[in-house]
């Protein structure tokens, strides 16, 4: 069988059924270099990570439902009111994060006109990020208040399956949120060092995580409100 050699960059239709041809997929950052663009892969990685976290909490949820139905020892109790305030604080942190992203996202355009404007935007964006971190910290402190409230009622981790699940859900969510705050400081450091290069800072990937933590908390609050 005779074969022909394609000149580099030859433009012929190609298929995946064995015939040769130039690449089928359009070159884009990440594909061309084989090392991937930073933003692209960190966002993909973050979506995969939040899927796994979502799966874990789905498993906890099913465990809660099965455990509640498997026995008559489930004891209902009223959720500490501070949780609702905490929810508002956490949702507020998502707003501040978006305000920060807006400003940092505008840096690239502003840099063309005036570097002072870019500096201003960066400082503004970083301010909102610090506020996001502060709100996250206040949320965790609020959760600790909720645990103290429960403990004052005599409800501890092993008191009843309902309190067990309450502590497990809230503690694991808080651990994830603290991990997110670690990520936030990593992003902040990258932003400061790069003068606001959002692409390489991981800011968009971080925002996926943070907003997911918000959504997860709203889900957990509803679940706890209905079940305990």
């Amino acid at each position: 069988m005779a074969t022909t050699t394609l000149p580099p960059g030859a433009d012929i239709a190609l298929d995946d059924h064995g015939s040769g041809g130039p690449p089928e997929i359009a070159p884009r950052p990440g594909h061309v270099t084989g090392s991937g663009s930073h933003a692209q892969k960190s966002e993909t990685g973050m979506w995969v990570a939040v899927s796994a976290i979502g799966m874990s909490f789905a498993a906890f949820t099913s465990a809660m439902i099965v455990r509640q139905d498997s026995s008559t020892d489930w004891q209902h109790f009223q959720l500490p009111h501070v949780l609702y305030l905490n929810t508002l604080i956490l949702l507020g942190s998502s707003v501040t994060l978006e305000l920060s992203r807006q400003r940092i996202g505008a840096i690239q355009g502003a840099a063309r006109h005036a570097s002072a404007s870019a500096k201003n935007l960066l400082a503004n964006g970083i301010y909102w990020l610090y506020l996001t971190a502060a709100l996250g910290l206040i949320f965790v402190l609020g959760q600790i208040l909720a645990w103290r409230n429960l403990a004052a009622q005599g409800l501890f981790l092993a008191t009843n399956p309902s309190s067990s699940f309450f502590y497990v859900f809230t503690a694991l969510h808080a651990v994830h949120l603290l991990g997110g705050m670690g990520g936030l400081f990593y992003v902040l450091r990258k932003l400061v060092r790069s003068g606001g290069a959002a692409e390489t800072s991981g800011l968009s990937a971080f925002s996926i995580y943070w907003h997911f933590m918000d959504l997860l908390w709203v889900y957990l609050l509803l679940l706890l409100a209905i079940r305990v």
Binding site: L6, T33, G34, G45, I53, M55, A63
Partner: protein, 592 residues
């Protein structure tokens, strides 16, 4: 070979120079892949050693085993193991083999080394997570091994750690105090490691494919690692909560899995209302996908290797990809078939039976595609190709018994017998390990730059192939005869006539195990003394064979590969007179 200009190279990280960064805490996916392989190698010999001890005891229960009392004076006084210590060894054998061998070797080891290269990437998407993934699994392994050396020894609850015995503490028996806690902590750490690994595999496959490497052009091995990563991501994300709840039951006094009124060792357990069945559901929701985490990478490896030695394309590669994906999807719908005798509703059992029978369809199609691919081929018989053919054989042998066990009415009789031991060892363990052997003989030249000894490889194959059939085939008969599993000795009247079969199996297991030292010798000797390997010794088409053996730090020496074809361009005539066309060759493939 065609590639874009090296001037565009932008490596993710520079080559390390210090010994520690180069060989220990390395970010290089190739080094990490080898570390996973070495860990699996250590684990498999420990696991095999444990199976030897168990088999010797099953054949000759009164024989003292030299030095066993040094491992545990309480568990094996005078070298004769107690029934409880038998259960400890069985637990550790299963745990080590399933987690640290069958998950590590075909998926983490080969996947880490070859997935980035096969898609033309310089490294994994997140090299630091990759390094963390290995070192956390190393910690998990050390924690698990520590159970051998704590006062009450390793746990006795089996690799499935069924509650409530696994959840209550020392009253449940020897090994159930600290040993069982170490087990749970180790598995929790293992879950975190696996999640980090799966995240990397998925992001790398989706984002780091080189120019021209469409999904359809990815080799079957990469497809299998990718789908396995998706399965692992969800499976270990379910096991982690289960182990957290188990640890809390054991250490914090909660009652997730421990029912009320449980009396153990004459003591009423201070727990109430927990559900032992809940553990089984959570565990098997991970556990059955785990079977595919173990076997799919080996299916991918075998599907990748067979066309190389058959010198013809894989039959229906897209159907094979579809089957791998269908298997991954269905693996989440069948966990209840492990629980037919758990006391769950018979209606549920039937519901789980149907998808279990369905999942045999993609697996059967895959097997037929592999058989069809070698049909009429002028096969090149090497150690790698022999292990591929051996894989097909043992996979069919193990798969057929699965048809029986998928039906509750038959499983109820066979569940607690050696029939099940035969089934899962063939279909999951031996088949997966055959894939690892095939992968080792095939990729060793690329990994180490030297060829393995083919003569020793073939000897290893035949001894292992005959050996595993001698070990596991008779177990079907034992199971049908009602021989229960998990017993340390067979003293009941109806079991005594079966002891000669056990003795035969024990001798076969010892000999088959001994044959693995041929492999180990070949592996070590060839590493240093094997003939130097060329860039493409098997005349294969995929990207790993487009670079030096072993590959440089950035895999392609600064070149950015461009892919023009699928992975299976064999049995064609290239312009330079070869019967294959590399994926990177711009040469047009003539119609077959």
């Amino acid at each position: 070979m065609h590639e874009t200009s090296a001037s565009h190279a932008a490596h993710q990280h520079t080559a390390p120079t210090s010994f520690i960064r180069k060989h220990v805490f390395s970010l290089d996916h190739k080094v990490i892949g080898k570390q996973y392989y070495d860990l699996a190698l250590v684990a498999v010999f420990i696991g095999m050693g444990l199976s030897w001890l168990m088999r010797i005891h099953l054949g000759w229960p009164a024989w003292p085993i030299p030095l066993l009392d040094k491992l545990s004076a309480v568990g094996a006084p005078g070298g004769v193991m107690t029934p409880e210590y038998y259960l400890s060894l069985m637990t550790m054998h299963g745990t080590i083999m399933v987690f640290f061998v069958l998950t590590n070797a075909p998926f983490s080891a080969f996947g880490n080394y070859f997935l980035p290269i096969q898609i033309g990437a310089e490294d994994m998407a997140f090299p630091r997570f990759n390094m963390m993934s290995f070192w956390t699994i190393f910690v998990a392994f050390i924690v698990m091994m520590t159970a051998f050396f704590v006062t009450d020894g390793p746990p006795i609850a089996g690799w499935t750690s069924y509650a409530p015995l696994s959840a209550v503490g020392g009253d449940a028996g020897p090994g159930m105090r600290l040993g069982q806690t170490l087990w749970a902590v180790s598995i929790a750490i293992f879950c975190i490691s696996s999640l980090l690994g799966a995240l990397n595999f998925i992001a790398t496959t989706l984002d780091l494919r080189t120019k021209g490497m469409s999904l359809a052009r990815m080799p079957l091995s990469t497809w299998a690692w990718f789908v396995t990563a998706v399965i692992a991501l969800l499976a270990f994300a379910a096991l982690l909560p289960a182990t957290i709840l188990l640890i809390l039951d054991r250490t914090a006094g909660t009652s997730f899995f421990i029912p009320a009124g449980l009396v153990l060792s004459d003591k009423l357990q201070p727990h109430s209302g927990g559900s032992p069945l809940l553990w089984q559901h959570l565990f098997w929701f991970f556990g059955h996908p785990e079977v595919y985490i173990a076997i799919l990478p080996s299916i991918g490896i075998v599907s990748h290797i067979i066309p190389v030695f058959a010198r013809k394309p894989l039959l229906g590669p897209r159907a094979a990809i579809g089957c791998i994906m269908a298997t991954g999807f269905l693996s989440y719908m069948v966990w209840g078939h492990h629980m037919f005798v758990s006391g769950m509703s018979p209606f549920s059992a039937n519901l789980f039976s149907v998808p279990t029978l369905f999942i045999t369809i993609p697996m059967t199609i895959l097997t037929l595609l592999l058989i069809g691919s070698v049909y009429g081929a002028k096969m090149r018989f090497t150690a790698a190709s022999l292990f591929c053919l051996g894989f097909i054989s043992v996979f069919i042998s193990g798969g057929i018994s699965g048809f029986f066990l998928a039906q509750p009415s038959i499983d109820i009789y066979l569940h607690a017998t050696y029939f099940v031991v035969a089934h899962f060892h063939f279909v999951m363990a031996v088949a997966s390990i055959f894939g690892v052997f095939a992968g080792t003989y095939f990729w060793f030249p690329k990994m180490f730059g030297r060829m393995m000894n083919e003569g020793l490889g073939k000897l290893h194959f035949w001894l292992t192939f005959i050996g595993v059939y001698c070990v596991f085939m008779p177990m079907h008969y034992l199971g049908l005869a009602g021989n229960v599993r998990r017993y340390s000795a067979f003293t009941d009247d109806y079991l005594i006539p079966l002891i000669p079969v056990h003795k035969f199996i024990t001798v076969a297991a010892l000999l088959t195990g001994a044959a693995q030292f041929i492999f180990l010798f070949n592996l070590i000797w060839s590493r240093f003394k094997g003939p130097i390997a060329s860039e493409n010794p098997w005349e294969a088409t995929t990207l790993e064979w487009s670079t030096t053996s072993p590959p440089p730090f950035d895999n392609f020496g600064g070149r950015h590969m461009v892919v023009y074809h699928g992975a299976d361009e064999y049995g064609v005539q290239s312009s330079d007179g070869k019967d294959y066309i590399m994926q990177t060759s711009p040469e047009k493939v003539p119609a077959r």
